[in-house]
């Protein structure tokens, strides 16, 4: 479904060039849920934004859904690939009602029957019709993220890209949103690429995982190996140890290392 070869993304000009992604490759099969884990600055979000057609300047060979990733994505591409952003407080237009936000993709693509589709999309993400005419500031973080997911679903994409979809939410709300995403993937047979800094979230959601640091993929492994902790690269094991939580006896040692 997605094949990435030697993807490189650089920002800036002249002496200030920063290589955000330094020539990475991976494959995602149709219907698979693929995770990218890494810390801030690892380049993981840039990879996702490139796949979503939001990065103008990249090099390499990327094919999405059997066709090369277009330099200027057209509407047909947009209908197949959708993105849910990290911060639901920033990704919804502050002056538009939920109704207006959800009507936008339908208007852009000239999809008829907007009324029914909007109500259906809200129902699909577990929001009842009373939310339809509210403004984002009248919703909680979890409800906002559900609206963002509903907006992506309205175009019925084959591939859903998720950029830290729950990192701005409470853990209790995170569980609800993750369960919702899992259910939607099952029902609509979507392919997921999920980016997160949280190994546990990725382990819970993904079939396979790529570990990124410094713009490179250092290890790819499948879910059972991640769960068992059988990793090969030392960065992955450092990440695993840190994710296991703070431990008083190890704390001093880890801190000395940093």
């Amino acid at each position: 479904m997605i094949a990435v070869r030697d993807l490189t993304v650089r920002f800036g000009l002249g002496a200030d060039v920063v290589t955000a992604v330094g020539g990475i490759g991976f494959d995602v099969r149709a219907g698979e849920s693929f995770g990218i884990v890494g810390e801030s600055g690892s380049g993981k979000s840039t990879v996702l934004r490139a796949l979503a057609g939001l990065v103008d300047d990249w090099s390499g060979a990327v094919s999405v859904a059997g066709a090369p990733l277009p330099r200027r994505p057209d509407r047909a591409f947009r209908r197949r690939v959708q993105l849910v952003l990290q911060d639901p407080y920033a990704s919804l237009h502050p002056r538009q009602t939920v109704d207006r936000i959800l009507a936008e993709p339908l208007a852009v693509h000239g999809i008829p029957d907007a009324d029914r589709r909007i109500v259906d999309a809200l129902a699909a993400v577990g929001l009842d019709a009373s939310f339809r005419f509210r403004y984002p500031h009248q919703l909680s973080g979890g409800q906002r993220q559900r609206v963002a997911v509903a907006r992506a679903l309205l175009l019925d994409p084959e591939i859903l890209l998720l950029d830290e979809p729950t990192s701005a939410l409470d853990v209790s709300v995170q569980a609800e949103v993750l369960n919702l995403l899992r259910k939607l993937r099952r029902e609509r047979r979507m392919t997921f690429v999920l980016v997160s800094h949280n190994l546990a979230v990725v382990a819970n959601m993904c079939d396979r995982v790529a570990v990124m640091t410094g713009g490179l993929i250092v290890e790819q492994l499948d879910a059972p190996r991640l769960a068992a902790g059988t990793v090969t690269h030392e960065y992955t094991s450092a990440l695993l140890r840190a994710s296991a939580g703070y431990d008083r006896s190890h704390g001093a040692h880890d801190a000395a290392m940093g």
Partner: protein
């Protein structure tokens, strides 16, 4: 409620915080009582549970429109609500310190990091001149910054998130406070950096014997880090247990909070979710 053997440095009895809005008074904190000795106490809850507002009420940083009331809000025997504002501010800088989630908002962006710390020594009359500078450098060393000289001269925007948070901790702990309130101090940091920052807080708090109120939404984290855990919901305390007993919490809300966290070895099934029972919010409303 204090752990046996430690005299309380902070006593909170029936603390309430309310904000006027167009729809009437909104109660952010509705009658919270606890006390803190020289120990590590965690306050856990979802956003909107009133945990942060509790911390702010203690240090006196509630937004101006809010009203804070309490039967007793005493620090080291002094009634905080009865103190004149100037005394209270002095107390807040010197003996009660607060570390926030994002150091960017708390550090002065146009002043070198080291000078901000040294300033703290001068303002509180602890040290002046070259001595303040030396003590600031020592403080940066204490938060395990490897090149304190460089960080001393740096401006806040030149520091990474973890480094900035360390500098923030150094600044807050410089006057040697008796109580540290840490509001989600590691939530904005990468996991590998989180552990380091927690270790620094743990180490400094244990060594100096100060009290710590650690505000977080992460039950798992505080269970490993703190001595006691207070679980808040809708402005009230629903459960207060020793951290070692956290797995045996009785309140269904606290149980739900613990269980809904995904685990690396937890498999891929649906995660248990919290059923937000209206009864929990109502319960405990009787004084």
């Amino acid at each position: 409620m204090t752990a046996p053997g430690t005299p309380a440095i902070l006593e909170v009895d029936d603390l309430r915080v309310a904000f006027p809005t167009r729809g009437g008074l909104v109660h952010a904190v509705r009658g919270v009582s606890f006390s803190v000795g020289r120990e590590k106490v965690a306050i856990v809850g979802e956003s909107g549970s009133g945990k942060s507002m509790t911390g702010r009420a203690i240090i006196g940083a509630v937004p101006r429109t809010g009203t804070v009331t309490a039967k007793r809000l005493a620090f080291d025997g002094m009634d905080l609500l009865a103190l004149p504002p100037a005394r209270r501010r002095a107390l807040a800088g010197r003996r009660i310190a607060m570390v926030l989630q994002d150091p960017k908002f708390s550090l002065n962006p146009v002043m070198r990091v080291g000078e901000q710390i040294a300033e703290g020594f001068r303002v509180h009359g602890i040290a002046r001149g070259a001595e303040a500078r030396d003590r600031a450098l020592a403080m940066l060393e204490a938060v395990r910054i490897r090149d304190p000289g460089r960080v001393y001269r740096a401006y806040p925007h030149e520091l990474s998130g973890g480094m900035g948070q360390r500098a923030m901790i150094a600044m807050m702990l410089a006057p040697g406070p008796d109580l540290l309130i840490a509001d989600e101090p590691t939530s904005a940091l990468d996991v590998t950096v989180q552990a380091q920052v927690l270790a620094i807080i743990d180490d400094l708090v244990s060594r100096s014997g100060m009290g710590l109120i650690f505000i977080s939404h992460d039950l798992d984290l505080v269970a490993r880090f703190c001595d006691r855990v207070i679980v808040m919901l809708a402005g009230r305390i629903v459960e207060s247990v020793a951290a070692s007993d956290l797995r045996r919490v009785s309140h269904p809300y606290a149980q739900g909070l613990l269980r809904c966290v995904p685990r690396i070895d937890g498999g891929q099934g649906d995660l248990p979710t919290l059923s937000r029972d209206a009864i929990w919010r109502a319960e405990g409303s009787a004084p």
